[in-house]
């Protein structure tokens, strides 16, 4: 079920497989279901803690976890709040845990030296999008929600898929750092940090893409200076990726116009109708 078992079985591979299994079981126990007991939730928390320790240990044995206490703290915040986001019952708490996740991710980016991305994550996601989420969630009071809205669909499948994906990612990133040992342990250069931040957005499931994006900027020379980081990012976005940026902008504009058209349909047509009738 896991690629580790077909490859050479090493202790760290076994540990990784065990962590994946524990994480899947923990997620399944914790996800909101109709038949929840306190005992199953406690077991879920326990298994989740075991899985996190297992993942951390795997990362260490694969040579991936840096010694930096700040990094470990913010990464831990990101991961644990990410888990809490999906297992919390109350939608409002889910949103707040998600905000904590974003804060953790932004902390990771700041530790890596990608100041602009770190702060922009907070501005865009935590500051604007999540506030809108909270706004809507608070208006739609959760107490009045139907029972099928309060449980997760396909908890077993979701838990297994998520855990296996995480295992694969850990494995591939671990192999990557094993091939080039210092890339992950030492303080990465800014270019690498940028690439690492861009990688999840590209769809982290494709391992080949990820490895190239991780390595390519480092080979291009990681000497993007302090003063020019934002300028480099801007030049990259509006130079090489100009078309993608423009397409995304047009897409958002269309969505905006469409939303306004949908919202204003009811009343406007009624008054128009009346005016025409008179």
């Amino acid at each position: 079920m896991d690629p580790v078992s077909t490859a050479t079985v090493s202790p760290s591979g076994l540990l990784l497989a065990g962590s994946v299994a524990a994480l899947a079981a923990s997620l399944w126990l914790l996800l909101p279901k109709a038949s929840d007991t306190v005992a199953s939730r406690r077991l879920g928390f326990l298994l989740g803690a075991v899985a996190l320790v297992g993942f951390a240990a795997t990362g260490r044995s694969l040579g991936c976890v840096g010694e930096d206490a700040v990094f470990l703290t913010v990464a831990g915040i990101a991961v644990i709040s990410g888990l809490a986001t999906i297992v919390t019952r109350s939608p409002v708490y889910s949103a707040i845990w998600f905000a904590m996740t974003l804060a953790g991710v932004s902390g990771v980016l700041l530790v890596l030296g990608a100041q602009f991305l770190g702060v922009a994550t907070i501005v865009v996601y935590a500051g604007a999008i999540l506030v809108m989420f909270l706004f809507v969630l608070m208006l739609a009071q959760p107490s009045g929600m139907a029972p099928y809205d309060r449980v997760s669909n396909e908890p077993m499948l979701a838990a297994a898929a998520g855990a296996v994906l995480l295992g694969l990612l850990t494995l591939s990133i671990g192999r990557l750092s094993a091939a080039e040992p210092p890339a992950c342990c030492r303080m990465p250069s800014r270019a690498q940090a940028l690439a690492a931040a861009a990688a999840p957005a590209d769809g982290a499931a494709t391992k080949d893409d990820e490895s190239t994006t991780l390595i390519a900027p480092a080979m291009a020379g990681g000497d993007t200076g302090d003063a020019n980081e934002v300028a480099h990012l801007g030049a990259e976005l509006f130079g090489r990726h100009l078309f993608a940026v423009e397409v995304a902008g047009v897409l958002l504009l269309v969505a905006l116009v469409g939303a306004i058209a949908v919202v204003s349909r009811g009343e406007a047509t009624e008054t128009d109708h009346r005016r025409e009738g008179r």
């Binding site: 905000a99 907070i122 500051g127 604007a128 506030v131 909270l134 008054t271």
Partner: protein, 435 residues
């Protein structure tokens, strides 16, 4: 591993201590100032009794903040039943922490002369986090985190007024962040940096404050920062006459104090930003000079000028509070989306065009005349934009009720309503009436 903190860490800690202490004291005394100004505007005497404790010395009421602070700290910290305890307790902490952390990226002076301490950068900047390249964005990020305090406080206290206040606040802050950002972008374009100290230095070097070079951006930013600070024409989140206390209706004691201090910090932040971005920061023509190599007198002078300008802006905030009525919510939204957003875009495009063609202008016209043109163009854009906004969006701010029905229709509808009342099993009369 060396456990002793380095000189740079110690310097940062000293700066944090000075800044937090100064800000808290400033917030306390600004409350007194606000009450004095309120009294002056309303032709009253205002607080003038409390002086030195246990004596009869009054000192114009300068002891008032101390007495107020003690009173509110010693009050019972009452938690109503039915609140969401975790969020109820977290909200004031979130808002205060975010409002204070903003100041990590805001310079509160120019630089100190070289101190000669090993491990310190030689001109010591008046800035807690001098290495942060994205100071402006940092301010934005943390002020948007502060929204969570308002929103969660309103929701968690399980009170309809608190909830409405929280919702209004989040809608308002999200809406006005956009014109705020557009006003800011013009300055960032002109200065070519996201660092607040670099922006101040750029104004000092040219001697042209961005308020003169980008008048439209200044106006948009000023209005939007009033809204972001939820000061009076925009204080709908806690409109006392409608919402009791808005999002902090259910708070008391020290938690209420945290909310109130955070609100004042928002105003101080807005004043800092207005001064730093548009009013030249520590620069004053013929007084401060513009170089980074300065003596002690110059350093203190610059600090004093920056503080004086900020105080001036804060007094302006307070005077506006007593001279302007509150907006209605639809007016608020109209102003943000139909007036401020287009004006901000006009400003941004003008500034971008001027900055793009500045080298060509300089070669064609010579530096002096080119500078004049570069200032004149934004002023023309400002006047034109203002005229267009004033002519074509009058309904955004006038107070006549928006008629969704024609007056003639109302009589017909009333007749219909009566007919339906006589036949109650047909349609519910309240539904028909409110259609």
């Amino acid at each position: 591993m060396n456990l002793l903190p380095s000189a740079a860490t110690l310097a940062a800690l000293v700066k944090i201590g000075l800044l937090v202490g100064g800000l808290m004291t400033a917030a306390a005394y600004l409350v007194l100032l606000e009450r004095w100004i309120a009294a002056w505007v309303q032709d009253r005497r205002g607080p003038n009794r409390v002086g030195i404790p246990l004596t009869k010395i009054r000192l114009f009421g300068l002891g008032q903040p101390l007495a107020d602070g003690l009173k509110i700290i010693l009050k019972e910290d009452f938690t109503p039943s039915g609140v969401d305890r975790v969020l109820y307790n977290a909200a004031p902490l979130v808002i205060l922490a975010a409002s204070l952390a903003i100041f990590a990226a805001i310079p509160f002076g120019s630089v100190l002369p070289p101190l000669g301490i090993p491990g310190l950068p030689d001109p010591v900047p008046f800035l807690v986090a001098p290495g942060l390249d994205v100071g402006v964005l940092w301010v934005f990020a943390l002020s948007s985190i502060a929204v969570y305090g308002v929103l969660l406080g309103g929701w968690a206290s399980n009170n309809k007024y608190g909830f409405l206040g929280g919702l209004r606040s989040s809608a308002q802050l999200v809406a006005y962040e956009i014109p705020l950002g557009l006003g800011l972008l013009g300055v960032v374009l002109a200065a070519g940096s996201l660092r607040l100290d670099t922006i101040m230095n750029a104004q000092a070097e040219t001697g042209v404050w961005y308020a003169f070079a980008q008048p439209l951006g200044f106006i948009v930013f000023m209005v939007a920062s009033f809204a972001e600070a939820a000061r009076l024409p925009f204080d709908l989140p806690e409109a006392e006459q409608e919402l009791v206390g808005g999002y902090h209706t259910e708070y008391s004691g020290i938690k209420l104090l945290l909310f109130l201090v955070a609100e004042f910090l928002h105003m101080i932040t807005a004043a800092f930003l207005i001064v730093i971005l548009f009013l030249g920061g520590w620069h004053l023509w013929g007084v401060t000079g513009s170089s980074q190599e300065i003596g002690w007198i110059q350093a203190l002078l610059r600090f004093g000028i920056l503080s004086g300008k900020i105080l001036g802006v804060i007094v302006f905030f307070m005077l506006v509070r007593w001279s302007w009525p509150r907006f209605r919510f639809d007016q608020l939204m109209n102003l943000a989306w139909k007036v401020m957003l287009p004006l901000g875009l006009v400003n941004l495009v003008t500034v971008a065009a001027v900055e793009e063609f500045r080298p060509q202008l300089v070669t064609a016209l010579g530096p002096g005349f080119a500078g004049a043109v570069a200032i004149a163009l934004p002023w023309i854009a400002c006047l034109a934009g203002w005229l267009v906004a004033g002519v074509f969006t009058p309904s955004g701010t006038d107070n006549t009720p928006i008629l969704t029905h024609d007056p003639l229709d109302i009589e017909r509808e009333m007749a219909e309503h009566e007919r339906l009342e006589r036949a109650p099993h047909d349609v519910s009369p309240t539904l028909a009436g409110s259609r």
